[in-house]
């Protein structure tokens, strides 16, 4: 069969059009859709992990123990590539795509009989912090740093609580009332903390359980979510 000169001239044009349209339109579009889709899915997963862990933390699950950390890294957040802490029980490890920071804040009410005129009266204090996962992700790529710190000299590296050297008194109690290093600036914090005691109606300040999740997706970008219980 003879092929006319006109057909000869068009040979390969469809391929060229396909490459051009694909290269400049379809591939970027599909890539964009996939990226956005994955990010949305990951964001939802991170939200759910933060919510679940926060609820468990508030209900007394002790994430300073190896068993519960294994539950977190091996089940709850395993799909997000979180790695265990290794030897660092409560201060986090150095690998993996995710870090979860569990913080317990306490409002020291001036009317609290255990406080009296204690140094932390009227302040929100960080009384416990546990980091699970890659601590190097915290506060990077525009994600906020966790509020407050417990200086290493006061940190019980087994439980994550603030403690003093006075063994004759309940350590965490002593620390939360007297150790000014663990005070948290309320201006940098949600008003929920200072409102709790009044609303709860008691003299003892309220406790808030705060979980922050830092996750880097396949593009290396940060997803940050938090949950307050």
């Amino acid at each position: 069969m003879k092929i006319g000169p006109q057909n000869k001239n068009r040979r390969g044009s469809v391929m060229i059009e396909f490459v051009l349209v694909s290269g400049f339109f379809w591939v970027p579009l599909i890539f964009l859709m996939a990226t956005v889709g994955f990010r949305v899915i990951r964001s939802m997963e991170v939200i759910e992990v933060a919510n679940d862990v926060s609820q468990m933390f508030a209900q007394g699950v002790d994430f300073s123990t190896a068993g519960n950390q294994a539950l977190l890294t091996g089940t709850i957040a395993s799909a997000l590539g979180i790695q265990g802490n290794g030897a660092n029980t409560v201060t986090g490890g150095g690998s993996g795509n995710m870090a979860i920071v569990l913080s317990q804040y306490f409002y020291v009410n001036s009317s609290d009989p255990s406080c009296g005129a204690c140094a932390n009266a009227g302040h929100v204090v960080l009384e416990r912090r546990i980091i699970v996962g890659n601590q190097n992700l915290i506060g990077t790529q525009g994600a906020p740093n966790s509020v407050g710190t417990i200086p290493s000299s006061y940190l019980n590296t087994t439980t994550g609580t603030c403690e003093t050297a006075d063994n004759n008194l309940p350590p965490s109690t002593t620390c939360q009332y007297t150790n000014t290093h663990i005070q948290v600036s309320t201006s940098s914090f949600n008003t929920i903390m200072t409102n709790l005691p009044t609303n709860a109606g008691g003299n003892i300040g309220g406790t808030v359980y705060f979980v922050e999740a830092y996750f880097t997706d396949v593009t290396g970008r940060m997803i940050y979510q938090r949950s307050i219980d």
Partner: protein, 498 residues
């Protein structure tokens, strides 16, 4: 003129590309908008859950409904930031009214506060309008997203079991420990963590015998202050101390009171809790002695009356005997140990006027189980002992005081275990050890290990997470009792909020 083939197709690719572009954008836009909605919904659901939990926690700390709603609302807004992905609260569902608290009965229907109500339910219902970006081409600018959550503040049934043994009369700073216990127990009733609408308390006091001085009842006014006219308050206000420490009968009395409140075999509609405050080791138990009476013994008259269920106890430093037990069956021997009845009575000549070693004159042995079926001897008991006591007429083989305490402790340990392992009631036990009341006797010291075992505290050597987990508290002396009662209340409150 007939067009060439390719001439007819000219422009076809442009049309197809345009159409597919439109379809693809529509699908992509739909996907993006749906993903956004899901993202908002996930965040909103987490916020609703947190709000419900926080409101229940506030209810557990203080029964004030308005305060709980405020706290819950704060957690809702804290967990769902304003304008999250452009979402706005629905005008028809303002955040300020997202939380409601209802009082329900055991069937989940509306309950009457103070009578039929057994729990408070926090319902969170929240809705936001999520903006749509691509679906606007179809005329849809917004999509409503809803979330709801529910949490419950369970009612409490608390039995306070107060040790009124003689050592509680010891003075701390000039004031009897008994007075501290009475005042602190009264103060406990006024704790803000309790909810007068749904919580109930009963009281058992005990020494050699146990008395349910106040059956389970209301104890606070509707405003949440102590109701000084309540039977509970009146009973505690009349608390007196004298006699032995029959912890087992006391626990059984509390157990019976709880069963009576619900009805035997009826599923409980509240969290069942026993709070045991004691300053000494158990040194009394109830048992069925009839089969072990020696012929011709001093107890013969009692045996002929078939009234041989009672507690073996030391009533004074020199007088031991088997006495009736208020918690035992109706065929008890005569009542001996109330504030209005002389402490020591001769139970049908079945009282030993010398010391514990005189038991062998009347009984061949101690039963291996107490009246309630608790194992007192054998290798599986808390303090293993194989001696059944009173082994013949040789005083040297008779029970000594240490063995007597072991048997009593085993009985108490067994009773607490029976209560915790009641699969229907699932009773949680708190124990408060009161130190500083010793007169130098070995039974004047409470046994912290036993109290931790009874509570199934996490520090107990037989801690079993499958059973209700209580807690053990230690008061250095009577002046610390109030703090320990408060600690118990706080612990209960914390558990309620979980």
């Amino acid at each position: 003129m007939r067009l060439p083939r390719y001439g007819r197709d000219k422009g076809f690719a442009v049309i197809m590309t345009t159409l597919s572009l439109f379809a693809t954008m529509l699908i992509a836009g739909l996907g993006f908008d749906i993903a956004t909605i899901y993202l908002i919904r996930t965040k909103l659901q987490g916020a609703a859950d947190a709000a419900a939990s926080a409101a229940v926690r506030a209810l557990a700390e203080n029964g004030n409904v308005t305060a709980a709603q405020t706290v819950g609302t704060e957690f809702l807004t804290a967990n769902f930031p304003t304008n999250y992905f452009g979402a706005q609260a629905l005008a028809s569902m303002p955040v300020s009214s997202a939380l409601t608290v209802s009082t329900v009965d055991q069937n989940g229907n509306a309950g009457t506060a103070g009578t039929t109500a057994t729990a408070k339910i926090v319902n969170v219902s929240v809705g936001v309008s999520a903006p749509l970006y691509f679906l606007r081409v179809l005329g849809q600018n917004l999509a409503n997203v809803y979330a709801s959550a529910q949490a419950k503040r369970e009612g409490l049934l608390i039995m306070m079991v107060l040790d009124g043994s003689g050592s509680m009369q010891n003075l701390i700073g000039g004031t009897p420990a008994c007075t501290y216990a009475r005042n602190d127990a009264e103060a406990f009733l006024g704790n803000s963590q309790f909810d007068p609408d749904i919580d109930r308390i009963g009281v058992v006091t005990f020494s050699g015998e146990a008395y349910t001085v106040a059956p389970v009842a209301n104890f606070q006014s509707p405003a949440g202050t102590v109701n000084t006219s309540s039977t509970v308050y009146t009973a505690i206000n009349g608390f007196q101390c004298n006699g032995n420490t029959n912890t087992t009968d006391a626990l059984q009395a509390a157990y019976t009171a709880i069963q009576n409140f619900y009805g035997v075999g009826v599923s409980p509609n509240r969290a069942s809790i026993v709070i045991l405050m004691t300053d000494g080791a158990p040194n009394g138990f109830s048992a069925d002695w009839l089969s072990y009476i020696k012929s011709g013994s001093n107890c013969g008259a009692a045996a002929s009356n078939s009234k041989m269920t009672g507690f073996i106890a030391r009533e004074t430093p020199t007088e031991w005997g088997i006495f009736s037990s208020a918690a035992a069956t109706s065929s008890n021997m005569q009542n001996t140990d109330t504030s209005s009845v002389p402490l020591i009575a001769d139970n049908n000549n079945c009282k030993m006027n010398t010391d514990v070693t005189s038991y062998y004159k009347d009984f061949s042995q101690v039963p291996s189980t107490d009246h309630w079926g608790d194992q007192m001897t054998g290798g599986s008991t808390y303090k293993p002992t194989t001696s059944l006591l009173f082994s013949g007429d040789n005083p040297g083989q008779a029970v000594d005081e240490q063995q007597f305490l072991q048997l009593s402790s085993n009985a108490a340990d067994g009773r607490a275990t029976a209560m915790r392992t009641d699969s229907l009631l699932r009773i949680t036990i708190y124990t408060i050890e009161l130190d500083g009341n010793s007169n130098g006797n070995i039974y004047d010291y409470a046994d912290p290990t036993l109290l931790q075992r009874m509570a199934n505290a996490t520090t107990s050597p037989i801690y079993n997470p499958a059973q209700p987990v209580g807690a053990y508290f230690d008061a250095q002396d009577a002046t610390y009792l109030g703090a320990e009662f408060s600690a118990v209340a706080s612990d209960i409150s914390a558990r309620l909020s979980k």
